[in-house]
């Protein structure tokens, strides 16, 4: 008998995947421009020009055996130096190259970090709404995901609920801000208060509770929003970063883990990260892309397109009468379903060729995720469909 757990995981269609397949079918039936697919979080702005220029420059001027050769398992030293310098300059947080471990993107960063931290039976708190794969990665580390709902209305952290969920099995809390799927940026005061709560528990139990900060959307915020750098607020923090969204490179699988040097037993945690990466078959992060990061870390994405999309979509839906969570970051609008069953609402939306993701797989009921990393045209053309859908519920 093979692993039935893995077989089931491979066969379980993710909600988003199922919509993706319906979308392709529907597009072939009625034409791609007639289908308003808002299901996928795939950046639709190109990588900054410097990324491709850097690749060509590296190809032309670097010896093949270096460019395409193994880097050390933790990653190229120059790349890690650039990243740690940028962290110092941007956030005033002191970190050295040997606190950085290069990875194959955010999913790898999370999988490795959880495996490094958790022993069988440990609990990891995930704040709903959350990215559905968190459950998979927590369970892969033989730990138990413990879901805690965010505050109704603004979907900020519910500190009392978190407090109630913590016990002596709590190993970590995953923080994802800007948030997928809600677009919410968690506020600095709440994070400071959370830090105090965790320190209180730790000093009682003698065991740290880690904050794992999943930050692929850090650079994607609109207006005057401050995304607090959590290592400045709480010592036992591990940052899982990815260049998927900031440099529009989701397919290239490149990111890093930063183990805060202020963490309890920071160097042991870093060693465990190395061990977990090794056990999971991550020999090194893709070499060419590591060298690209050495040149391009810190580049800001041109988010004007996302901002225009957000403004058009958010304002139009407000005008129609939809209620959405304040969309401060990422490229998702999180909108209230017009009936309690979000899946049923999404089925109705399909009649108008609107493909939305029901919030159930994000661990919360009654919302839909609308990914606006699509063309401005698509949003413009979809507004009458959103209006008709609203009218069906409000005749």
């Amino acid at each position: 008998m093979i692993s039935k757990k893995m077989e089931a995981l491979g066969k379980k269609p993710s909600a988003i995947r199922a919509i993706f397949e319906y979308s392709n079918k529907r597009k072939s039936e009625i034409g791609a421009d007639k289908v308003f697919d808002f299901s996928l979080g795939n950046p639709n702005i190109p990588a900054p020009k410097k990324v491709n220029d850097t690749i060509i420059n590296l190809i032309n001027n670097t010896e093949s055996t270096t460019l395409h050769g193994y880097t050390s398992a933790v990653g190229d030293l120059k790349t890690r130096t650039v990243i740690s310098n940028n962290i110092k300059n941007r956030f005033g947080f002191n970190v050295e190259p040997n606190n950085i471990y290069m990875t194959c993107g955010a999913a790898a960063s999370l999988e490795i970090t959880l495996k490094a931290l958790c022993n069988p039976g440990d609990e990891v708190i995930i704040l709903a709404p959350f990215f559905p794969e968190y459950r998979v990665f927590v369970e892969n580390a033989d730990a138990i995901p413990k879901e805690v709902l965010c505050r109704e209305g603004d979907l900020q952290i519910d500190l009392d609920a978190v407090k109630n969920a913590i016990n002596n099995k709590t190993k970590a809390i995953i923080i994802n801000s800007p948030n997928n799927p809600s677009g919410v940026v968690f506020k600095e005061e709440a994070l400071a208060e959370l830090s105090g709560i965790l320190d209180g528990f730790s000093s009682n139990s003698g065991e740290p509770i880690y904050l794992i900060c999943d930050e692929p959307y850090r650079e994607i915020v609109y207006g005057d929003i401050n995304v607090p750098y959590i290592p400045n607020i709480y010592d036992n923090t591990i940052v899982c970063y990815s260049y998927s969204k900031s440099l529009s490179l989701p397919g290239e699988r490149i990111g890093y883990i930063m183990v805060s040097p202020k963490a309890t037993d920071s160097s042991d945690v870093y060693a465990a990260v190395c061990g977990a990466g090794r056990a999971s078959g991550y020999v090194c992060a893709p070499s060419l892309l590591q060298y690209v990061v050495a040149e391009c870390d810190g580049l800001n994405p041109d988010i004007e397109k996302y901002k225009a999309n957000r403004d058009l979509l958010y304002n139009s839906l407000c005008e129609i009468g939809y209620e959405s969570v304040s969309p401060d970051g990422a490229f998702y609008l999180f909108t209230k379903s017009l009936e309690p069953d979000a899946a049923a609402f999404c089925e109705k939306a399909k009649k108008y060729e609107l493909l939305l993701v029901p919030s159930d797989s994000f661990g919360i009921k009654g919302y839909v995720r609308i990914a606006y990393c699509v063309s401005y045209e698509q949003i413009k053309n979809s507004i009458p469909a959103f209006k008709a859908l609203f009218d069906e519920y409000n005749k």
Copy 2:
């Protein structure tokens, strides 16, 4: 408490790693050309020109959001089509794109395959000498590595020993041919006999035993050597392939898993592979490199340099009096230690600035691995040192 298992794995210096660090230190003391470092299996021939040409062409002619965007989790369809067609043409083995799953290299292929197949307590037979990370990947799948020594002298598979090691917990056998570290290519007749043995056990127990073929060195063989395509010999076969050595791209992490369509429950195994890849945080293999593979799969590496190295090293060491295993493939010479303790022998070799890897971590005693993926000059210059070392033992 964090995971002590992962912490220990991260802190345990691999034998090869320790030599690598000694090498760097020694080179800075006496000059790089004075140190004969034969420890690393890092290809020293450049990637075929077509690889870099293809990258530049893709950069110039493909939309950024496609080139750097997510592919499906199993990999780009065109890439998998090219690979499956090439398998048909080269080996006469019928395989479809949906039997192929693109991975981040051979380590990922193995980790995913083992996790897909194994339940806790299963046993996986590994044939010594073996690549040391096999133990890590088998244990990561909650399974138990069961070491079986190859036949003394020629290091071919010891079929009686394998037969004795099989029991009703045996889930798989890892076959690595051409072999790292021995350079041996397993013979077709032995594999056919092994196939018969496994079929016999399976028909008794009702449970298949899988052959996991780790094939990064398939293309690196010298002279008229046939590397049998094992799926043609045994149905329950899973091939773990990597382009690290064939295209000299070890840092780029690109390879694939092929689940034989003839395997028992082939589609369930494939689903379990998808599930295991997902659980381990492998979202997709690096996209740019997948598109490179679509153009470059099947290119043969220019192994003339390796062949010249092999001939010089093997013949020179024979002449001095060393005994080596017949080096038919890969880029390793596996040579008998001049004393029973290979580690002590390697320590003595250091006096002559020869850096060799003792065989103990490969699961066998009394040999050293000499990686000849180095410059021809290095080999030429090292011969007097090998001679002096031999003379020290034979005065």
